[in-house]
Symmetry: C2
Subunit: 299 residues, 2 copies
């Protein structure tokens, strides 16, 4: 089915604040998805773990109760609107795969409501207030990086910490994705914001723009907003600024730092072909010389 792509696709990124109630958060995201579809969206992407506050700020066994299977209740309600509104939806889920086995996942639902598959986050961070290694087993699907044909284009899904890894973007693009979608939850430590906040945000945007450039594809990141303090301490200020980069690396749409937004962007998929023809990086890859990428360090 590769090659049978529509020429333009309207993408919607759902950037918002999360509250304490998962029921309310899911309803809020559903409402935003419906509004996006009414506004013309064909592919809709949620922010990472939209159903909850970012619970990884602490290591608390009680939080495992927030997880659910795929398919499950949340994918079910989104499959229904994918069917009713004929939209593709990428739904970030805290996935319970088995007792003691959890993933940070994204369900890919085609227009019409069919669940095409699940991407399980491959790179798991563990840093102060981002204690994800406690909660999430790294993805072990084969292949871990892949792409799906949807009604509105061939897409790949990666999640947050994955965005720092050129290997992840490359493999997903080589699988044929024209759009890389990154549900994300990233923010500032309030104590670092004044001195390092701008550089941290710039680094985050820069490396994702570079994936667009290196691979000649669209890249979209969907981040939450809001200052969340689920535990004692300063919490995290999620920096929003969801954005879309064209295959040239240019930012063609960007949301605010602290505003709930449905970021609607029309993607001219023909730009993938144009970029890759004029900047033919895929032509010249030295695939005979990359084997040691699979080594930890060359010492």
């Amino acid at each position: 089915m590769k090659g049978s792509k529509p020429k333009t696709t309207t993408l919607a990124l759902l950037q918002h604040r999360a509250g304490e109630s998962p029921v309310d958060n899911v309803q809020h995201t559903l409402d935003a998805a419906k509004q996006a579809a009414q506004n013309g969206a064909q592919i809709i992407c949620t922010q990472e773990l939209f159903a909850t506050e970012y619970f990884c700020q602490s290591e608390d066994h009680a939080n495992f109760d927030l997880a659910e299977p795929i398919p499950g209740p949340t994918t079910g309600v989104f499959q229904k609107i994918a069917h009713d509104l004929d939209v593709v939806i990428i739904v970030s889920i805290f996935e319970r795969r088995a007792a003691g086995l959890y993933h940070n996942s994204a369900a890919v639902i085609d227009a019409g409501g069919v669940l095409l598959g699940v991407y399980r986050k491959m790179h798991i961070p563990d840093d102060p207030l981002y204690y994800e290694k406690f909660y999430f087993t790294p993805g072990d699907s084969d292949p871990g990086f892949c792409a799906w044909n949807t009604k509105y284009g061939r897409i790949g899904v990666l999640i947050c910490w994955d965005q720092w890894y050129p290997e992840a973007a490359r493999l997903t693009a080589l699988a044929g994705a024209d759009i890389l979608l990154y549900p994300t939850a990233i923010g500032w430590h309030p104590s670092e914001k004044a001195d390092e906040g701008d550089a941290q945000h710039a680094g985050w945007q820069t490396i994702q723009r570079s994936h667009a450039i290196a691979n000649g594809c669209f890249v979209a990141a969907v981040n939450r907003i809001g200052h969340e303090k689920p535990t004692d301490g300063d919490g995290l200020e999620f920096w929003g600024q969801s954005f879309v980069a064209a295959p040239s690396g240019e930012v063609i749409a960007e949301a605010g730092i602290d505003t709930e937004e449905i970021l609607l962007t029309e993607l001219n998929i023909a730009q993938v072909n144009e970029a890759r023809t004029h900047w033919p990086f895929l032509r010249d890859r030295r695939i005979d010389a990359y084997e040691r990428i699979s080594r930890r360090f060359l010492d």
Copy 2:
């Protein structure tokens, strides 16, 4: 020897115009290197193919006469100043390896004058007015991507078109390089400059900044200036703007578009450790899942 690095290193990038006379160009670059050393430079990097105009604007067999071996006359004169001034120098050379076998290479000369090795450009472009595949055989060293211990730090060298490949930067960083140096010759087609020039330059800088971010190392690009028209037609306007990015991806030094400059920058090598500790991307690479990077496309 890894780990026994000095804490700061002063880097000089030699950005200038090339004229018709190779003798004059080499002398001009030698003079700039000497000046850089007097200004405190410890590592000096030339621009790509500094000895000549960018002859790849046409496919002309006569141009093979511009090549020379390594070691050869040009590396000889730079080895002498590396000895006399106790500086490391990366010297870009159109290398004649054998009859009918030429490379786009860079000689790495340690302080004291020892020739440590040669990097042969791995990714070779071929696009209008950049007819490099006619002249240069792709590098075939084993390993193709590597790093060298010099008196003033552990460095890696890549060349121009290599800068678009995250794989090249990654492998060179995994080999232990704290600084990636890119001798470069890139410019605008005059007919494209008004409409696409800014985006082209931004893409070029963005992807190199991303290598700094992904790998937590310094990245430096050394580009020429000047509008060269060695053949009929509009020629190429080389865009200068040599720059250095810190491990955070921030640009810490940048030269002008059309000015000859010795861009002197002090690098605090301890920032490599700091960046990699606070943004521990190397910790979490999924080396079990990258094998297909060595495939052309996943179809």
